[in-house]
């Protein structure tokens, strides 16, 4: 049996569905994605930008395809490799209810169509992971965003290690959007078409070619536009701000904006029930900022997930369930570090009330959860006024939370007009600014009076802290059973969580997550709160977890989630996911980093 060489590839950076693959020998990659596929008549570009070349023989029906590497990208990295495939005879996306025709087929290079995704049972049964998957109906598929998004998502889930190419669709103006959707390979087809019309495609859309340039200069400039876009996209994936680049470049085309919004809607639904499969992270490296500079950011699945989780699952701590205080957010995050919140907390001076921040685009941020991603680190332009959409989000979230939780009194220091059914709302702002002495005085008095009138006793600091961590645990892990017998010690902000004399976790305030100790694993084992991974029998675990080490996994890991590691059904340690659930279990490169070994 002839073994088909497959592409050497490792994911080196990722944000949701956008990834950088290092191609070739991992120790010395020849190229990275996003990158280009050249057609037969394209002038050569550096391999670093264009590691593949495509040939198509259209004299045959169906056409025969050949994808050739332009460097030694396949282990053992001795040769250039050519993969063959058949384009098939498919029906276009509007006719996918029929299975007529001949499905495209291939191996390491696999052409597909929306129709074949729908009807070709071989796609479910193939046991190899194609190196490159090519949508041969992409130019038609882009006319149906919903089908495009569904098709892409299905392919990403089914073949998480494959590079995706949508021929003819890409340009410097939508390179980052396509990368965001999970497309890894681009081409020159669209820019060549534009060039023949006297048009350059820049990162911000089509522009007329400067007539002072000759053909060669004009083409070189077009190539430079492409390289710049690829470099920008790669860098944005590396540093984690690709969403901002996507939102900015989308604006050149209504179709791109529309596609981003539809993708947001689609992924938000997935994120709410299964955040790992939407590529979300539970925590981010220190310094990462969620930039909410455009209105489209509010539809980001990360935001929608936060809003849903807080609205549907957050509960005040038992000693804070009668009175809520609504506060404005602050530019400094977490809010508690800001001068304004120091003054608010000084004025409130009680652990018996729930402090709830009103903000955009997250809507509501309870004080306990302000240390969690993304509440702990987001930035939004503030013009001193709320728009109707922001107000609607805030009021809807508050109303739903209140109808579930049933606060007796809401002390409203946010400056937004709030009315809540069956709840007394006290406005302490009136027409003053939040930090004004008079407003702070009213806030202080309202808290004191209501705490007194409901006879609320101030809990001890340790009790309040534990309750706060339980709230964080419910939000992060979906439960807090592991903290039942715990106590909190140490100094703010990196508290220690102890059970008797064993430290079971440390609060990592920089990343907003629990750093579990080895001692926690036995406790966590019985809670079913963490995703689990089972190692292959006989494998000697010494470092990161790769697809080749894993026999199965359960749960839906997000980036940053701790996972319990089993072998032969026995708990052998823990690891931290570096790839989200949609990439499991076959993404190339490390899926999780080892944490503890029992």
């Amino acid at each position: 049996m002839v073994t088909i060489p497959s592409l050497g590839r490792t994911v080196t950076s990722r944000v949701r569905f956008a990834r950088i693959f290092a191609l070739g020998d991992r120790s010395n990659p020849s190229a990275n994605t996003p990158s280009m596929v050249l057609m037969d008549d394209d002038d050569p570009l550096e391999v670093a930008y264009a590691p593949f070349r495509m040939s198509r023989d259209s004299s045959k029906t169906p056409a025969e395809l050949k994808m050739k590497t332009r460097a030694k990208l396949c282990p053992p990295f001795n040769d250039i490799v050519t993969w063959k495939a058949s384009e098939g005879l498919s029906l276009p996306p509007s006719l996918i209810e029929s299975d007529a025709g001949i499905f495209p087929h291939g191996n390491a290079f696999l052409p597909i169509t929306a129709q074949s995704l729908f009807h070709d049972s071989n796609l479910s049964n193939i046991e190899f992971e194609p190196s490159i998957i090519c949508f041969v109906d992409s130019l038609q598929l882009v006319n149906n965003d919903n089908l495009l998004i569904k098709s892409l998502h299905s392919v990403k889930r089914r073949f998480p290690s494959s590079l995706i190419w949508m021929p003819g669709v890409s340009g410097p103006d939508n390179c980052s959007l396509l990368a965001w959707l999970g497309v890894d390979l681009m081409d020159l087809i669209r820019v060549k078409r534009a060039f023949s019309k006297g048009i350059h495609i820049s990162a911000f859309g089509p522009i007329k070619i400067d007539k002072s340039m000759n053909q060669t200069q004009a083409w070189e400039k077009q190539i430079q536009f492409w390289k710049d876009s690829i470099n920008t996209t790669r860098e944005a994936i590396r540093v984690g701000n690709i969403r901002r680049i996507v939102e900015a470049t989308c604006l050149s085309s209504p179709r791109s904006v529309q596609r981003l919004r539809r993708h947001d809607n689609f992924m938000s639904k997935i994120a709410i029930s299964d955040p790992g499969n939407a590529g979300l992270a539970s925590s981010m490296p220190p310094g990462t900022v969620l930039e909410c500079n455009s209105r489209d950011t509010r539809d980001d699945p990360l935001i929608r997930y936060w809003q849903d989780r807080v609205t549907e699952n957050w509960n005040p701590n038992p000693h804070q369930s009668k009175i809520a205080v609504l506060l404005p957010c602050s530019a400094v995050k977490p809010y508690r570090k800001s001068p304004s919140h120091s003054r608010f907390r000084h004025a409130i001076n009680s652990r018996s009330v729930s402090e709830i921040m009103i903000t955009a685009p997250l809507g509501i941020v309870p004080r306990d959860l302000e240390v969690l991603w993304p509440a702990s680190s987001y930035d939004i332009p503030v013009i001193g006024e709320w728009d109707s959409d922001e107000l609607h989000t805030i009021k809807t979230m508050l109303s739903k939370i209140n109808s579930r939780v049933g606060f007796e009194v809401v002390i409203n220091h946010s400056g937004i007009e709030i009315e809540l059914e069956d709840t007394v709302v006290i406005n302490t702002r009136e027409s003053d600014s939040a930090g004004s002495e008079s407003a702070l005085k009213r806030l202080s008095e309202a808290v004191r009076e209501n705490v007194g009138s409901y006879g609320l006793k101030e809990p001890k600091r340790s009790v309040a802290l534990l309750a706060s961590f339980r709230s964080i645990s419910r939000h992060l892990l979906g439960g807090d059973q592991w903290l039942s017998n715990a106590k909190i010690t140490g100094k703010a902000p990196d508290y220690r969580i102890m059970i008797e004399s064993d430290q079971i976790a440390l609060w990592d305030s920089k990343r907003g997550r629990f750093a579990f100790s080895k001692a926690a694993l036995e406790v966590l084992k019985h809670t079913n709160l963490l995703p689990k991974v089972e190692l292959i029998e006989g494998f000697k675990w010494s470092g990161d977890l790769f697809s080749t080490n894993i026999s199965s996994y359960s749960g839906s890991p997000r980036i940053g989630d701790d996972m319990l590691v089993y072998q032969g059904g026995i708990l052998v340690g823990s690891a931290r996911a570096v790839a989200p659930a949609w990439e499991w279990p076959t993404a190339p490169g490390a899926l999780a980093r080892a944490r503890h070994r029992v």
Binding site: M39, D41, M54, R56, S58, S59, T61, P62, A63, L65, E87, G88, L89, S90, L91, P92, P93, S94, L95, E97, S98, D99, A100, G101, I102, P111, L117, F118, H119, S124, C134, V136, D137, S138, L139, Q140, N143, S151, P167, G168, V169, G171, D173, I189, R190, K192, R193, A194, S196, K197, I199, I201, G205, P206, I207, K208, S252, S253, R255, S256
Partner: protein, 370 residues
């Protein structure tokens, strides 16, 4: 993604528009005693003499293949009804004669029935005989149409006995079994067409072959490559080859694709290139090639940028009469290199349905990210 309902067969998709209320309304609207259309065009007789031809398109029961399945691009179902009687057909024929004053000044008549002229289930045999006999008696060269698998020996010999030497046009559409099966859903294959041609020759009837330029589910570039080859093959066995550039007929599958931006009618430049590339081979074979771009220059027919369409259509029409390749020598337009790039891109790109975009409108808007 996986499907949740059983897949539909291609022919179910083709047939679906037939029962739309708008299709039914249209079918019920016409008068079966009057022909659909009658018109005169310049033509060339088999011996090469220029003449005037009358084309008579009749309202009929339609095509036996459509009753079972149907071709992907066919919109004739809009113009057929199963209650058309012998009297209706005779009345339509009389009307056609009346309109043309018994085909005055014509040397040729083309009688089209949206199906096979001599298929008895489609057209009453008495009517067939009337047309064959009268046109022979009027010394008119007759052109009728047929499906290849319906060109049976006994029938052809009967036709030949009443109107010897008439022309039978077969809609082959593509000289490629995969294309016939998938892109066209033709209902017969090349073997059947070859057998039909053999039988037509045996009965001393003339062979006209229709080819389709750019069937659905095919890119413009592939269509160009294939059609040149098909013309070269088919012209060796035909007296005439008529190439029909795809036009969008209402309520058909192709119409649906067009509305979904999954299909664009061909460029006129592609037709010019096709003629240029096949001209020498055709000339050697002695076969005549005709290209009539129906709705040429319009969005639903073969078209270019809008500036040069009239001139290019006229050149193609002239070529169909003169067979002179020089008809195209003076044509030029700035859209020619845009077309050329598209063809190149179609041929080289793994994009089965092509890489084409709209040809008219602001170039900057057309080039916005798709």
């Amino acid at each position: 993604m996986g499907r949740t309902t059983p897949p539909k067969r291609l022919h179910e998709l083709i047939k679906a528009p037939e029962n739309l209320p708008s299709s039914i309304e249209r079918r019920e609207s016409w008068d079966a005693t009057k022909p659909a259309t009658v018109y005169l065009t310049p033509e060339v007789l088999p011996d090469g003499t220029p003449c005037t031809a009358a084309t008579v398109i009749l309202r009929t029961k339609g095509c036996a293949w459509w009753w079972k399945s149907g071709c992907t691009f066919c919109g004739y179902f809009n113009d057929v009804r199963d209650n058309v009687t012998l009297e209706d057909m005779l009345s339509q024929w009389s009307d056609a004669k009346k309109i043309t004053n018994d085909f005055e000044g014509c040397k040729m008549v083309k009688v089209y029935t949206s199906g096979t002229f001599f298929e008895d289930r489609e057209n009453p045999i008495e009517w067939q005989e009337t047309v064959l006999r009268e046109t022979y008696e009027m010394n008119l060269h007759l052109v009728v149409e047929a499906q290849a698998h319906l060109c049976k020996d006994d029938k052809l010999s009967w036709v030949s006995s009443i109107h010897p030497g008439c022309t039978v046009a077969i809609g082959l559409e593509a000289y490629d079994d995969a294309v016939l099966r998938f892109h066209v859903n033709k209902g017969f294959n090349l073997k059947t067409w070859h057998a039909a041609v053999e039988r037509l020759r045996k009965n001393e009837l003339r062979v006209k072959t229709y080819l389709m330029f750019k069937p659905p589910f095919m890119s413009e570039g592939d269509a160009l490559i294939h059609s040149v080859r098909w013309i070269q093959e088919v012209s060796q066995l035909s007296d005439e080859v008529s190439i029909n550039p795809m036009n969008i007929q209402k309520r058909t599958i192709v119409d649906r694709l067009h509305r979904n931006r999954e299909y664009r009618p061909p460029w006129l430049w592609s037709l010019v290139k096709m003629i240029q590339d096949s001209h020498n081979a055709v000339k050697e074979s002695g076969c005549r090639v005709i290209v009539h771009p129906t709705a040429g220059g319009k969005i639903r027919g073969a078209h270019n940028c809008g500036k040069c369409d009239k001139e290019v259509v006229a050149a193609i029409e002239r070529y169909s009469v003169s067979s002179e390749i020089d008809e195209f020598s003076d044509l030029s337009c700035e859209c020619h290199h845009i077309w050329s790039d598209e063809i190149n891109s179609d041929i080289l790109t793994p994009a089965q349905f092509g890489t084409g975009i709209a040809r008219r409108g602001s170039p900057l808007r057309l080039m916005l990210a798709p």
